[in-house]
Amino acid sequence: MINKVLVANRGEVAVRVLRTCRELGLETVAVFSEADREAPHVRYADAAYCIGPPPAEQSYLRGERLIRVALESGAQAIHPGYRFLSESPDFARACDEAGLIFVGPRPETLQLLGSRTAARRMVRRLRLPLLPGTDQALDDAGLLEAAGRVGYPVSLKAAGGKDERSICSASSPDELQAAIPRARQEAQAACGDDALLLERLVENVRHIEVQILGDHQGRVIHLGERECSIQRPNQKLIEEAPSRALDGVLRRRVCRAAVRIGRAAGYIGAGAVEFLLDAEGNFYFLRLKPRLQVGHTVTEAITGIDIVKAQLRIAAGRELRYAQKDVLPRGWALECRILAHDPFNNFAPCVGHISRLREPGGPGIRVDSGVCEGLTVVPDYDPLLAKLVAWGETRGVAIVRMRRVLEEYQIVGVTTNLELHRALLDSHRFFGGQFHTRFLEEQFIPPSSEEEDYLAAALTAALLDWRRRARGREGEARSTSRWKMLGRWDLQGGSR
């Protein structure tokens, strides 16, 4: 029985989880680093505990401290959100040992899925498609031999790494031989282990993932797929559900494969099975992300299912309230991630004080925000400020809605990628659904301003100056209300 939940995260995902907890009537405990004292999730929760200094290693990643706070505050469960400790078998195990419910899969499942080689072997046993490659770490000679069998180009990956990123690629034996020593160094640096494996490099691919839910009773269902091909290395920008790249037949195949993988892993909770899809309609297992995904909102928008609620119900031991036939997606949904970074300056993270925030609304729109007016965006964490979700009866409607709300959204004081999103959604290739994972790198053209907007800026500046002078002559107190004065004060000294 769960009455109180500790949310071991920050930002928009903490608020997301807290919202569903509140709807379920659960009491909530937030944690915060010293940099996050003012953050919305602290104010949203029923109780809040400081867990350390700003660096995540000293706060949000300190499992033993989180467990102590959970016990002290009387929480029975810990929801890890995403990132931070959400995929840590050690933390899940420590929760078990402390008598706390970890909202996620079993520690053994996390262990299995955290190993690229183990996950590949599991999927191979199911006879489901994998990227041609090696299921175990190999020595240099082994890698060269395997590359000959798999076919060039190939990419080298850290065997101990969790993400799908390749360290480097090679299109001939000579290139591969030259690349191996450097790759071993990078793997050692990144995950403390220089073991490498090798996979065929498939180009012009799309990133498809299938949302799954599994319960303690052994049932696994899927909630359809998402596509998140609009991405930079390690940073997705736009997700959508369903995917334009799948027809009915292929969708059934991919989703069934995801459910079989989930069952084989004994999966409990919400997860996403990730695949690469090539231009010929072949799909390849990439990994099973054993946690809530950032893009879960688009699946919620088309299915109507609250995935966080499902997670909490499953964690409490209850069985899934949906059979596969109850999952009836409707329409199309897009999610734009609003990030504090500067697309026109090599995506450098940005910080600043949000002096003004206006979030959009109206039909078909959901805003999941982790910030508020008055907040200072700090450099210590992920730059994700908020997620904007647009639903429409068709993909076209979802796109024009998203385009509308990207214009409504107003964030003053910190640079964001709102403009990049506007440009992406204006692109014909995005509208046509013709893109792949390197679309952003290859296709993005910075938009140009409307000519008349320059005039609007010029007139604002001139009229403000003129009025200030006019007021100076007339005597300020008489001619302006108190609110006008406040406005002016803000204007002269207030923002940024």
């Binding site: 002096s355 003004r356 990207l406 214009e407 959204y409 107003q410 003053v412 004081g413 709102l418 403009e419 506007r422 301003s449 409307e450 008349e452 907007d453 320059y454 005039l455 609007a456 800026a457 010029a458 007139l459 604002t460 500046a461 001139a462 009229l463 403000l464 100056d465 003129w466 009025r467 002078r469 209300s481 609110w483 006008k484 406040l486 406005g487 803000d490 204007l491 002269q492 207030g494 923002s495 940024r496």
Partner: protein, 168 residues
């Protein structure tokens, strides 16, 4: 009051009379700027076109203004009109003639016309480099170039007369 406003390389000559009537590059515009109480935010109507602008920072002669989600840097030079003090800029030219002056101090990078050449209204006649920006200087009326007063490559002072345009 007469303003020369440079917004990211575009120059606007804005004149506001005592009643608040507005001319942009000598064309009359119906302009209404209304502040949203308590905020550095404005509703701007320009010949009924509606804009929302947000002033992010404002310092002497420089203003950061957000329009449609983009931030623009506006540099402002002003002179009173009519004025008893000596004007830093020449008085408004008679109809059909124009005096192109440097809105900011800077390097005169290009002069694109020669004396006697016919020019159209709004034509770029010179380019000034100032504050890391290239400012295109335009004519406010059609006519002929009567005089070129400065050569490319020289530093010019603010308000310095560069070209005189007269009627053909």
């Amino acid at each position: 009051m007469k303003y020369q406003v440079v917004v990211e390389g575009r120059t606007f000559e804005i004149e506001i009379d005592a009643e608040g009537k507005v001319w942009v590059d000598r064309q009359p515009f119906d302009v209404d700027l209304e502040g949203i109480d308590g905020l550095p935010q404005y509703s701007l109507l320009v010949d009924h076109r509606s804009y929302e602008t947000h002033v992010e920072t404002e310092e002497a002669g420089e203003c950061q203004v957000m329009v449609a989600g983009r931030t623009y840097q506006a540099c402002l030079q002003s002179e009173p009109t009519p004025s008893s003090e000596p004007a830093r800029y020449p008085p408004p030219s008679p109809a059909g003639s124009d005096r192109v002056c440097a809105p900011l101090p800077g390097l005169l990078a290009e002069v694109r016309v020669v004396e006697g050449e016919a020019v159209g209204q709004g034509q770029v006649v010179a380019v000034l480099e100032s504050m890391k920006m290239r400012l295109e200087l335009r004519t406010s009326c059609a006519g002929a170039v009567q005089r070129v007063c400065a050569a490319p490559g020289v530093e010019v002072a603010q308000g310095e007369l560069l070209l005189v345009i007269g009627q053909e």
